[in-house]
Amino acid sequence: MASNQSNCDVSSQQEPNQLRKKRRKSTQTTESHLQNDGTGEAKNQPTVRWRTCTARRIYSSKLLEALRRSRRTTSPRGEKTREVRETADRVLAVAARGKTRWSRAILAKRARLLRVKKVKKPKVGCDRMLQESEKRKKLPAVERKVKVLSRLVPGCRKVSFLNLLEEASDYIAALEMQVKVMTTLSEILAVAGGGAGVGGGSSS
């Protein structure tokens, strides 16, 4: 683990200048947060948790495994994208180790689906809500945005503003890592597949 991290730093030095500056900035923020929050909090900060090379490696390997397994078990016709995305989200939630609310919510979603097939009842108080929203058109702007954000972050609909911000920061860091890993993975697979196609075409 240590060697990987040192490799990360070595590579950062040899990258072009702008990349180096960016990396330095992120390490500085990491360090400042480490100093601020004490030794116990250091590992729990989202920047540290989700930006280590080990985290990326763990996630990528687990993702591959999960994708292979899902490929083998099911292949729905028109829903490949959604399945892949849900697999990726679940692996991300597992990588979070259950310390955050959104990760538990993602895993709970799946568990709930498997256990009981819910039939969604239409909202009873819907009309009343519409009338109220017409009367009260301008909720405070901040509150509206808070609601939107709480809908975006899974499992955070009735969470206080303070905790919502914390969950959001962890979720953003996790999503960034997810995007990086999936990009790299898709490019490997695309290149490999494309190369095979090209090679096959040229050979024949």
């Binding site: 990360c8 947060h33 920047t47 090379c53 083998r72 995305r85 953003i172 898709s186 290149v191």
Partner: protein
């Protein structure tokens, strides 16, 4: 317990049977109950018990006589000189003077108790005496409750004591010296109370205000003719800050929120210039939505590339080598030497991986391997170089741009390197076609 031994039974009955059950008496009853509760306390309890005895004494005197203040002043005033020199003796003398005016029994017993005390309680006694000089016997009961009790309202009563002590000091110059000692005693008491408070209270805000109390009182001991309000309120009001416990809690909460917003500012790119919660929330929402869209897009790509996923065990090499390679590729890009063990590990693995692809596609593996050995060092390192470069930059335009542009950025970075791009281009277009289908 000493208290109960020294409390005259008659006095207790008198108190209870008095038709006017003042707040004072109710407090006293409560205090007695509390004292009974706290028999397991240690040293401080003992010291405080002395206060309570004395306070009870004064209570009694007040109830019966109403002339307690006179008694005390008479006991204190004649000995200004003596007061400085030796406390214990003077107290004895002073209370000796006061004795004849009151119930003999309780006072005699307390007289003995007083002589036993150390230097601290006499100061407290002086504080008590001084406090009662003004006739505010409620203060005494406050002292008792602050000494004995666990209640959080005690905090306010401590402030009242300080208040009263200040008020007293202003009026009588002769009492100044006494006051000095009393304040020391009181500061000790407040410190003790603060310790107790910090032990007993759960909320941080109370601790903060208590610490401020003790700090402020120790600073303001020298300033005699200063304040009408309790110290900590005055200091906070002077600074223009809120003084209420509710607003203190709100301030803490607001600080937490601003701290987390700052953290999010670091996380979300392009938020340096934005101040204010609404703008920041907008940016955060946009960013989260764009990230989720990206994940959706990438999952689409991965779903399209799914056939490649059916690898066997050889794929494990690729998985393990991939992060190492993504790290080490910049070094490889510099020199064509393949001295890097990770790269060496990777190359055969990649060949194997490709070989598996070939198998799946039904193509002759050796040909595939041959064909790939020439182009593999070129195109695949390039891929990883792109991805590593890409993964480590956060080019702001990509978040807002089209998803196709995202792909082109990676592609452009590949172009900047001096590698051959032909096989790479071909693969990208092929996968694009697949996606569109």
């Amino acid at each position: 317990m000493i208290n109960r031994a020294l409390l005259p039974a008659g006095g207790g009955e008198n108190m209870l049977h008095c038709t006017d059950m003042t707040v004072l008496e109710r407090q006293r009853a409560r205090i007695k109950w509390q004292q009974e509760q706290q028999q397991q306390f240690q040293l401080q309890q003992q010291e405080i018990s002395y206060f309570t005895e004395l306070a009870d004494v004064f209570h009694q005197a007040g109830v019966h006589e109403g002339g307690l203040s006179e008694v005390v002043t008479r006991s204190v005033k004649p000995d200004p000189g003596l007061v400085d020199n030796g406390w214990n003796n003077d107290h004895v003398v002073g209370y000796g003077v006061g004795l004849p005016y009151n119930n003999g029994l309780g006072f005699e017993l307390n007289y003995g108790a007083i002589s036993r005390t150390s230097s601290c309680p006499p100061e407290a006694v002086a504080a008590v005496a001084e406090a009662t000089v003004k006739g505010s016997e409620s203060v005494v009961s406050d002292m008792i409750s602050s000494g004995a009790g666990r209640e959080s309202s005690k905090k306010r009563k401590v402030d009242k004591i300080q208040n009263n002590s200040k008020v007293v000091a202003e009026e009588d110059t002769r009492d100044k010296r006494i006051k000095g000692c009393a304040e020391q005693g009181e500061s000790k008491i407040t410190e003790k109370n603060n310790n107790k408070n910090s032990r007993n209270n759960n909320t941080n805000k109370n601790n903060n205000s208590n610490k401020e109390n003790s700090d402020e009182t120790s600073k303001d001991n020298s300033k005699v003719s200063e304040v009408q309000k309790p110290d900590y309120i005055h200091v906070r009001a002077r600074r223009g800050q809120a003084t209420d416990s509710h607003s203190l809690a709100e301030r803490v909460r607001r600080e937490k929120i601003s701290e987390r917003m700052k953290y999010l500012q670091d996380l979300v790119p392009g938020c340096d210039k934005i101040t204010g919660k609404a703008g920041m929330l907008d940016e955060i929402i946009n960013y989260v939505q764009s990230l989720q869209r990206q994940v959706e897009f990438l999952s689409m790509k991965l779903a399209a590339a799914n056939p490649r996923l059916d690898f066997n065990v050889d794929n494990l090499f690729a998985k393990e080598a991939f992060p190492a390679c993504s790290i080490n590729f910049p070094t490889i890009g510099m020199s064509s030497d393949m001295t890097n063990p990770a790269y060496l590990q990777f190359n055969p693995a990649q060949q194997q991986l490709v070989a598996c692809c070939g198998l799946d596609m039904g193509i002759d593996p050796p040909d595939m391997a041959l064909k790939r050995t020439t182009s593999a060092p070129v195109s695949i390192p390039e891929t990883f170089l792109d991805s590593s470069c890409f993964t480590q930059t956060h080019p702001p335009p990509t978040w807002d741009a089209d998803l196709q542009n995202l792909y082109n950025v990676a592609f452009d970075q590949g172009r900047q390197t001096s590698f051959q791009t032909q096989p790479f281009t071909g693969s990208i277009e092929a996968s694009n076609l697949k996606m569109e289908m």
